[in-house]
Subunit: 200 residues, 2 copies
DNA sequence: GCCAACCAAGCAAGCGCTAGGTTAGGATCG
DNA sequence: CGATCCTAACCTAGCGCTTGCTTGGTTGGC
């Protein structure tokens, strides 16, 4: 595989990810993928086995990146609150690098089950879930987080709110990803209510 | 239109909503819709003009119901915190009544734009957005909610977290929708951090 | 006997994918 | 160093299938 070949593949994948994210995988045709790459549909099959293999490559590269980010985030931090902030920040950063893949993963996880290498996706998904749940549970045990809420419920609410932000949030100079991440973390950790004098 | 006819239509719509939610609109065929209703695909066209009209009817009945619920929720309550709780509760209750439609609306809002009566959907969507934003902004002005967060960001985070819960939450006797709604509200209003002595 | 509800059959368009031919550019060799 | 060959990259053309939808005919309850 030459450098030129790798570039071409990456180019096709980038265009495909954007199209899949915009119109959905099923409704995007191989002819549209080829158009985006400036070739004819048949020529796609010189680079990829099938349309499904293109989808697969996009999604797996995303979940692998995300899983590695979570591992690093948890390794360099022990304190529950800081860990949660890190998980949110990494989720947003990786979503930024894999913008199209994130939408595909969010919208069409169901249909990905039929892919040949779905096991890889499932394992990464499970590992990421564990990272969130472990962080929340250890926070509860350490007394930092409330114990009256189901960790599963908390995890799912945070995950959906954060990941789905790819639909409406894009980093800008005025509102960079670091500040958005800390805002998200602050809402979930401190709440929307005005901080005032409290007696426990 | 006889009562029997209305029943048959409702039956077809219910089956279609479930299928569309499960597999996506584009990947669900009219033959599958007909199978679910126990008839042949051609017979669908006695009840509906087209596949698109079926989708449209499902989604519009959902957003109309939701918009009416929001109007009622805001009319019977003035206090910002209670208003926010009401909006969350209504969203979950209507999502329960229109389970399939909620998923369609969440997953495929983009593709709904090509529908003939999309204007109706857009107007309802805009009215609902206003209900959320007005509630959050009035809470900030009344001093009940923090003023350091963008109301748009708060709105979108809450909306996504709450609406997407149709993917994983179903009401049970052990965890009814009222308690789930109050848990959601509590996370967003009070935060995950242990309530402790605070000095303003 | 009428008409709402359904069936039987199939059409045109679009789908993913394939087979075989063309081209350009680097490697090989006398 | 020019001729020859090879191969990656692409094109041309179209196959087999599924799709949403249509048409004309059938049926059974009022």
């Amino acid at each position: 595989m030459t450098a030129r070949d790798r570039d071409r593949r990456a180019e096709i994948l980038a265009g495909a990810a954007a199209l899949f994210a915009e119109k959905g995988v099923a409704t995007t045709t191989v002819r549209e993928l080829a158009d985006a790459a400036g070739i004819l549909s048949g020529s796609l099959y010189h680079h990829f086995e099938s349309k499904d293999h293109i989808v697969e490559e996009i999604v797996i590269s995303y979940v692998d990146d995300l899983r590695r980010g979570y591992d690093r985030a948890l390794a360099e931090e022990q304190e529950p609150r800081a860990r949660l902030v890190n998980l949110i920040r990494v989720s947003l950063e990786v979503a930024e690098r894999h913008h199209g893949a994130t939408e595909i993963y969010l919208n069409e996880l169901q249909s990905l089950r039929s892919l040949p290498r779905y096991g890889t996706i499932r394992r990464a998904r499970s590992a990421m879930r564990k990272a969130w749940i472990a962080t929340i549970e250890s926070g509860i045990q350490a007394g930092a987080f409330r114990s009256d809420l189901d960790p599963q419920v908390v995890y799912r609410l945070i995950r959906e709110a954060v990941w789905r932000s790819v639909r409406w949030y894009r980093p800008t100079a005025a509102y960079p990803v670091e500040r958005f991440a800390s805002d998200c973390a602050s809402i979930f950790l401190d709440g929307l209510t005005t901080p005032g004098p409290r007696v426990s």
